[in-house]
């Protein structure tokens, strides 16, 4: 028996899902599977394309697990699209000339952006918005542009507008219909959306069409002529006026297509030719519709895979409910959103102050038929599964904001087991409960992996979290969230206790709030530095000493903080003086060189634009620092869970591309936040233009200059788990930037776990970036004033720890190698030469006991 061949044309989201469906059914081991893909990369998440600009790189958008193709023996040809199908010979030919014979052909060619036939549409500076390549081209062109216009105010158009805004362009949206997102929302919703979008600085033009793209002498875009006779000056145009099915291949081989495009398929997703299937956006489903959403596409992928495997399955139409975040605004539409059902009624809540619009469509007998949510789509995860049933509370209660009128405690527990929670992967509440109770999943990531729920558009993740927690609690699982064996509280809870009760001592905290058995004890290596850090962060506002080594606080600090230097593997320390923004005078450089030479220190330039001096003994630290302080240096806090460095590029002053003075801003920020103790180290950078030479998006808080001010990115990280920072706010003035960073850092310090970097914190906290933005930008918790006050207290109370230490003989007493021989250097700290400098003599440490001079034999030099 020969092995059958399945050829898939197109490797987008639906194509990848089809391959997974084949693998799930064991077809990849029974058949040869060949994939022809036009794009140069594996399937990626097109739904979240604009997140590429908000901090997600192309790799993070990938939908293909590493090794998937190899594991299943799939032959993948990237950058080689199919160009012809010979149905008689059953072969497909690719652009490279490669011809593959097939037993089954699956077309998943997706759609192409529709560009209205206006004159000048091919001018330089005109783009479409569909692929990562499109985005990269827009990004490059935007470098030399100031204004950008998007043609089309639908879902993709607003996504594109968000992307242009993120690139620092003055952004316009031109929509032919009288409102934004005409397909999903009604007039009221469109109005709410428009107001919010305009508040974000995007100019909206509705009810006007694009008549012509006007060009400059060099053939590039100069302006757009609009149907109302006006013109709009712009450097860049993105066409986002809808998509059309890519059915060319099918047309050319004689397969029937719909009048308005789309390859005609039956309920099994099969075309007229029994050997050929079509799935996703290129197909005209058996209900006569072309579905442009990912969830129906996934269903079609499953249906086709089932049919090929000889199983029953059909796709006869799908729910087109959607929930999106466009330009930071939640928009959701589900069921009969426009009230097309005969005799249906509306319940509407509209608050134009906060940009919230909610409409529910109900039947006369109270059945929820559909709805539209703009500005606050929190309830989408609950309302969509309730569609088609009579909700347990009256509809008016469902649209009122929390706290208004009768309280509505409508949690996921109100849903029946058959309610579909994840519509992308068609996962019911019952399946999710089963994952917890029968498959032992105890966390959302585990449930996601087990059921695939929440791995599509992600709109159900919040409800998913609530379900998992409710199920765990119901089965009596109690997770100890305590900081350590001494405290049953989390770091955040301890922070609140210290703040509210103004506790300034570790013993007091342990004896009053520690676990029963730990009270009266010494704490441990986990809680002591954590509490030390909390007290240091809050010092000015709770009346504690700002000096981290005062009194009882001295016993809490890790050795690095204790000696204000970084312990290295042979027991020596390294020293990093602060060099704000990486700017240093020749005189100061010479001092560092002289100190390093005089004390025989190994010197290395750090990644944070500073200089690290290695190999100092404990007893040398004060003498070295006396020299550094005298030359005007201060502690760089490289030893602390504190602000490290604010790196910068050279900026507008010198660089021909720079648009702001990034060095000055970096220095200002570094001096403002120096010494700030936090749950983990904090790194920052400021770039003077979008070229991002300072790598700000790999930092806890990164600032990138725009023509209009500064963009603030948060939650970035390098290291073992790199993460691009997310855009928090755009086009900020100096003062707005500083105020926002004040709030962000204090909110992080307040709510993060011990040793939790901002990147992990942002991923963990409920509501994620959206919640953090609500709190620090929109002040949803009403705490911003307090956060700012705490930061002001820190700034006012800052003193250089090394200068303070040198001024106090009592504090200097600890800097000895031996308590009983203060002048004796530690004989175990020795060095050997390496590349014209020194390195630790580790051979000396290898033996069981060190052979050293006796106490009697030593001199006190």
């Amino acid at each position: 028996m020969t092995t059958p061949t399945i050829v898939l044309v197109g490797h987008g989201m639906v194509g990848q899902r089809f391959l997974e469906a084949l693998a799930d059914r064991g077809l990849t081991s029974r058949a040869r599977v060949v994939v022809l893909c036009e794009e140069p990369r594996l399937a990626y998440d097109r739904v979240h394309l604009s997140s590429y600009f908000a901090g997600t790189g192309p790799e993070a958008l990938s939908l293909v697990e590493a090794g998937f193709m190899a594991e299943h023996g799939i032959e993948l040809h990237l950058g080689d699209p199919a160009v012809a199908v010979d149905r008689e010979a059953r072969t497909v030919t690719a652009r490279s000339g490669l011809t593959v014979g097939y037993d089954t052909l699956v077309l998943a060619t997706g759609s192409y952006p529709f560009v209205p036939p206006v004159p000048g549409r091919d001018a330089g500076g005109c783009f479409v918005y569909r692929t990562i390549e499109d985005l990269l081209a827009i990004e490059e062109y935007a470098m030399t542009s100031r204004t950008g216009a998007v043609v089309g105010g639908g879902l993709l158009g607003l996504e594109a507008a968000g992307a242009l805004k993120g690139l620092g362009l003055d952004t316009h949206v031109v929509e032919f219909a009288p409102r934004l997102m005409p397909v999903q929302v009604d007039e009221g919703g469109g109005e709410a959306l428009r107001r919010t979008v305009e508040e974000m600085g995007v100019t909206v033009h509705t009810g006007v069409g694009t008549q012509e793209i006007l060009t400059a002498g060099d053939g590039s875009v100069r302006a757009m002529a609009l149907s109302d006779g006006s013109s709009l000056e712009t450097d860049l145009v993105v066409f986002s006026a809808g998509v059309r099915p890519r059915d060319q291949l099918a047309r050319e081989c004689g397969l029937p297509v719909g009048e308005r495009g789309g390859i005609v398929v039956d309920a099994a997703c099969r075309t007229e030719d029994p050997h050929v299937y079509a799935i996703g956006e290129c197909a005209l489903a058996s209900d006569g519709r072309v579905y442009g959403l990912v969830a129906p596409g996934y269903e079609m992928a499953e249906t086709a895979a089932k049919a090929i495997a000889g199983q029953e399955g059909s796709f006869t139409g799908a729910d087109t409910s959607t929930k999106l975040k466009l330009l930071g605004v939640d928009v959701a539409s589900f069921g009969d959103a426009h009230g097309a059902t005969a005799g249906c009624l509306d319940v509407v809540y509209s608050d134009s102050r906060s940009g919230v619009y909610k409409k529910l469509v109900v039947s006369r007998d109270g059945v929820l038929l559909g709805g539209i949510l703009v500005g606050d789509a929190e309830q989408y995860g609950m309302l969509r599964p309730l569609t088609g049933s009579v909700p347990p509370v009256p509809a008016e209660h469902l649209v009122l904001p929390a706290g208004a009128g009768a309280p509505v405690a409508l949690g996921p527990s109100a849903l029946p087991d058959e309610a579909v929670i994840c519509s992308c992967h068609n996962v019911t509440k019952g399946t999710i409960r089963g994952a917890v109770t029968e498959h032992g999943c105890a966390t959302v990531p585990e449930v996601k992996k087990c059921t695939r729920a929440g791995t599509g558009c992600g709109s159900c993740v919040k409800v998913l979290g609530q379900l998992v927690t409710a199920e765990l609690e119901a089965s009596g699982v109690e997770v100890d969230k305590g900081l350590c064996g001494c405290f049953a509280h989390t770091r955040q809870e301890l922070f609140e206790i210290v703040r509210a009760l103004r506790i300034t001592g570790f013993r007091e905290l342990l004896d009053r709030h520690g676990r029963e058995g730990a009270r009266g004890g010494d704490g441990c290596e986990v809680c002591k530095p954590a509490v030390g850090s909390i007290i240091a962060s809050l010092a000015p506002s709770i009346g504690a000493s700002g000096y981290v080594l005062d009194g009882e606080q001295a016993a809490l600090q890790d050795t690095n903080d204790h000696f204000l230097a970084n312990l290295q593997r042979n027991g020596s320390y390294s020293i990093v003086p602060r060099i704000p923004g990486g700017e240093i005078t020749p005189e100061k450089l010479i001092v560092i060189g002289e100190v390093a030479r005089d004390f025989g220190l190994y010197t290395k330039i750090t990644g944070g634009q500073r200089i690290d001096l290695f190999g100092a003994r404990v007893d040398q630290l004060p003498v070295i620092w006396a020299r550094l302080v005298e030359a005007g240096f201060e502690s760089g806090h490289a030893y602390g869970k504190a602000l490290r460095t604010v790196k910068s590029c050279v900026g507008q002053t010198w660089c021909r591309y720079g648009v702001q003075d990034s060095v000055r801003m970096a220095i200002d920020l570094e001096l403002r936040y120096r010494g700030l103790r936090s749950p983990h180290k904090l790194k920052s950078a400021v770039s003077g233009c979008q070229r991002e030479c300072a790598e700000a998006r790999s930092k806890d808080f990164g600032v990138i200059a725009t023509v209009g001010g500064w963009n603030l990115y948060v939650g970035g990280n390098g290291g073992a788990t790199p993460r691009h920072a997310d855009l928090l706010a755009q086009d900020l003035s100096d003062a707005e930037l500083v105020r926002l960073i004040d709030r962000f850092l204090m909110f992080y310090i307040r709510t993060a776990d011990r040793l939790e970097r901002t990147s992990a914190w942002l991923e963990r906290i409920e509501g994620g970036l959206g919640h953090v933005r609500d709190v620090v930008v929109h002040d949803s918790l009403g705490i911003c004033e307090e956060l700012e006050r705490q930061m002001a207290g820190h700034v006012a109370g800052y003193r250089d720890e090394w200068a303070e230490t040198l001024d106090d003989p009592e504090r200097l007493r600890r800097f000895v190698s031996f308590v009983n021989a203060p002048g004796v250097p530690d004989p175990s700290v020795r060095f050997v030469p390496e590349r014209d400098q020194v390195k630790p003599d580790l051979g000396l440490l290898a033996g069981p006991v060190l052979a050293v001079r006796t106490l009697e034999g030593t001199t006190t030099a």
Binding site: R507, A555, F818, V819, S828, L855
Partner: protein, 110 residues
Amino acid sequence: MNVEVLLPGTADWFAVCDHDALTPGRGVAALLPDGRQAALFTDRHGRAYAIDNRDPFTGAYVLSRGLIGSTAEGRAFVASPLLKQRFDLENGRCLDDEAVSVPAFPVRMR
């Protein structure tokens, strides 16, 4: 009041320092007459402990610079400042690796 350490293999008590030189919850290093190094600690109740200063996992003479704590059973320990293994301050046993221990020295105050 002086803190004294019983020198290993002898019956001699060696006076290291005044008790006031110790910070509760922290340690100091002491040089013994034979050139060995001891790490001296005192807990919050003023009780003193001494173990060898050498961290057996790295070879570095740094245990005196670790943070001390107490286990749920109330045993005092120090966590190495390098790789954080914990050592029982009374008997020198490593709490994270049964096969490893450091010498512990009897301590008295005079």
